[in-house]
């Protein structure tokens, strides 16, 4: 008989860590193939279509990069929150709040200010909106011990309803012929795009800069160190006198604020007006959770994993059209990949020993 025992693995090298991720994703694709097979779709064709649709053409690449912008921004912010084991599932709401704040700013001041003032002002407003929506769960968690998974999720629903209330009511634009949605932003408030694409480059640059800054914050500053200690060993953090309240407030302000930035990008770069929540964000707040996880909670890796999952979103759209699969397919792909990633962690942290025994 074969006896299976496990033991802890202490020498986790970056190479082994990366290989584990790659193998986990491969295993995930295998499982997804089986699901496709059951659904009566040729898995090889479907998966090749996903990657061909996103990375196989110039058009696909442009779309992938466009969708990577919010994913990198949010995913980066989540790496910080998750480091402190603050489970922020509310990025979707924080994104919407950023969109609401920046739309208001753009509509109110867009006609009277030049672009070089109004655009930074909108990003600032978006950051504040997302940060405010992000610090509510931090206060609720530290002061009232309310589980942040629940509170951030509830705030998602509340924000989506609030946004809808605005666009069907007081904010309904006079140019929309009675349909819900605000008026278009003034020209000065609209972000420039790389010609022939939808890539709003200022948000893309902002996302890359944020990822680099956050890498420095997490690994090279006292605040980042404290956030990591809170996550890894809360007991020790308490003994060391780390202020949980202050640290949580700041990290959720950053995490929410970056989601708010993503909201500004979607409004000022893509849609140019505030519409229904589902059209403002196609679930970026949730996909970004996997982005952060695949990045092993490292903001720099979040750039790569953000582009990867943007590719899956774009490829998912492509197979919806070419294979007639429902939009929900992308969620199955995402969920399966996430399961395989966390399962892969087990084989990274534990050595599996197979021994032949005589019994």
């Amino acid at each position: 008989m074969i006896k299976i025992t496990t033991s802890d693995r202490y020498n986790i090298t970056p190479l082994r860590s990366m290989m584990t991720n790659v193998l986990s994703l491969a295993a995930g694709l295998l499982v997804i193939s089986i699901i496709f097979l059951i659904a009566g779709v040729n898995p090889l064709y479907a998966i090749s279509q996903i990657f061909y649709g996103s990375f196989g053409s110039i058009y696909g690449l442009k779309e992938t990069l466009t969708k990577a912008i919010p994913l990198i921004l949010i995913g980066t912010g989540l790496t910080l929150a998750f480091r402190a084991k603050f489970w922020n599932i509310g990025a979707e709401g924080q994104l919407l709040m950023g969109a609401i704040f920046s739309t208001w700013t753009g509509l109110t001041f867009g006609n009277s200010l030049p672009p070089y003032l109004i655009v930074p002002l909108m990003f600032l407003a978006g950051f504040i909106g997302g940060a405010l929506w992000g610090i509510i769960p931090a206060i609720l968690k530290i002061k009232y011990s309310i589980n942040e998974v629940i509170s951030t999720l509830m705030l998602n629903y509340i924000c989506a309803e609030f946004l809808t209330m605005l666009i069907v009511g007081p904010w309904k634009g006079s140019t929309r012929f009675g349909f819900p949605g605000t008026d278009n932003l003034p020209q000065a408030a609209i972000l420039g795009v790389i010609p022939g694409s939808r890539i709003h480059y200022s948000t893309l640059i902002l996302a890359l800069v944020c990822a680099i800054i956050l890498w420095v914050v997490i690994y090279k500053t006292r605040f980042g160190y404290e956030a990591r200690i809170i996550g890894e060993n809360p007991e020790a953090a308490r003994y060391a006198g780390i202020n949980f309240f202050k640290t949580s407030l700041i990290l959720m302000a950053i995490s929410g604020g970056l989601a708010g930035f993503a909201g500004v990008g979607e409004i000022a770069g893509i849609h140019h007006y505030l519409g229904y929540p589902a059209s403002v964000s196609s679930g970026y707040g949730f996909t970004a959770i996997i982005v952060a996880w695949l990045a092993k909670l490292n903001p720099l890796y979040a750039i790569i994993s953000g582009i990867f999952f943007a590719g899956i979103l774009v490829g998912g759209d492509a197979i919806q059209i070419s294979l007639g699969l429902p939009a929900a397919t992308v969620q199955i792909v995402n969920g399966t990949l996430l399961v395989c990633l966390i399962m892969g962690d087990y084989f990274l942290k534990n050595k599996i020993n197979l021994r032949l025994s005589n019994k």
Binding site: V149, I150, G169, A328
Partner: protein, 306 residues
């Protein structure tokens, strides 16, 4: 007026039923020490499977059975990841929700907007349903309502008064000690997660074949997440869950009552979610120490670490 009150209370019971089923399931699961954030996903799978089987076979009870089997099966993903592989339970639960929502969207696509010809009929309990007022509210209801009450009471009894219940609670409070006493922590946790999944799927089945008789994507509308909050509100006690669930059922119904008053429907839709936060705030303000969550909730158990 009288009729409005009766019909409001009647609808409160119907609206609270899925919350009670899912909350009871999550309580069993969390009592064994496993946090399952996959409730929303499992509920969606339950809803779509119950709907498809009921529509194709014309047998609502077959639909219910299929939904339970599907819910229990998909819950094994979370059980395997969090128990055997000791993965992070928050992330694993979220993944289960994504998979569940995705699967339900994929399976249900051909059925969107198709009305159910044969649904689960309300059932009048002989004699009791003739009692004035009370009869209509409590004894002329969907079978799911009776089932939910029965399962909550049975779960309370099992958890508090039987050997199996002691084993489940010990596993959640102190798995090492439980194992020393001969309890198989792994099997107890697997059992609890899978039973919890079955309950969540029942909640979904109620939504699609009894409550609304049709299927649309996202019809669970966050009820799974509210159930997780109600688990805390009920202080991990299925008996208290009954009150908690029907209180929230009332909040869902009051939304519709207040619509004619000219309040924004979107504002009213926010109410269950705001109420969830308020309730959690309230119990925290009252006495944070009374929140006796299972001591080892969400902590993976490593058998070799002894």
């Amino acid at each position: 007026m009288e009729e409005i009150i009766i019909s409001t209370l009647q609808r409160t019971m119907i609206a609270g039923t899925p919350l009670l089923l899912a909350t009871t399931g999550e309580i069993i699961c969390e009592r064994s020490g496993i946090l399952n954030l996959g409730v929303e996903g499992v509920m969606s799978v339950g809803a779509v499977v119950a709907f498809i089987i009921t529509m194709t076979t014309g047998q609502p009870w077959l639909g219910v059975l299929a939904a339970m089997v599907a819910g229990m099966t998909i819950s094994i993903i979370h059980a395997f990841a969090s128990i055997t592989l000791r993965a992070n339970q928050v992330v694993s639960g979220l993944a289960l929700t994504m998979i569940g929502l995705g699967l339900s969207g994929m399976l249900g696509k051909p059925y969107v907007g198709r009305p159910l010809a044969i649904k689960m009929n309300d059932f009048a309990i002989p004699y009791l349903s003739n009692i004035p007022y009370i009869g209509k509210i409590f004894f002329f209801q969907s079978p799911f309502f009776y089932l939910a009450i029965f399962l909550a009471l049975a779960s309370w009894f099992i958890l508090e008064r039987t050997r199996l219940g002691i084993q489940i609670r010990a596993t959640g409070e102190n798995p090492k000690a439980a194992e020393a006493q001969g309890v198989n922590v792994f099997s107890i946790r697997y059992f609890s997660v899978i039973i919890g999944g079955g309950f969540s799927a029942l909640a979904g089945a109620h939504l699609s074949i009894s409550y609304s008789k049709s299927w649309i994507e996202g019809m669970t509308a966050g009820r799974g997440w509210i159930a997780i909050a109600l688990t805390i509100f009920a202080l991990w006690n299925p008996g208290r869950a009954i009150w908690a669930a029907f209180l929230f059922g009332g909040i869902f119904v009051v939304q519709y009552l207040m619509q004619p008053l000219g309040i924004s429907p979107n504002f009213l839709s926010m109410m269950p979610y705001i109420a969830t936060l308020l309730i959690l705030l309230l119990i925290s303000l009252k006495d944070p120490k009374k929140l006796n969550a299972p001591a080892m909730l969400a902590a993976p158990y490593n058998r070799t670490e002894r």
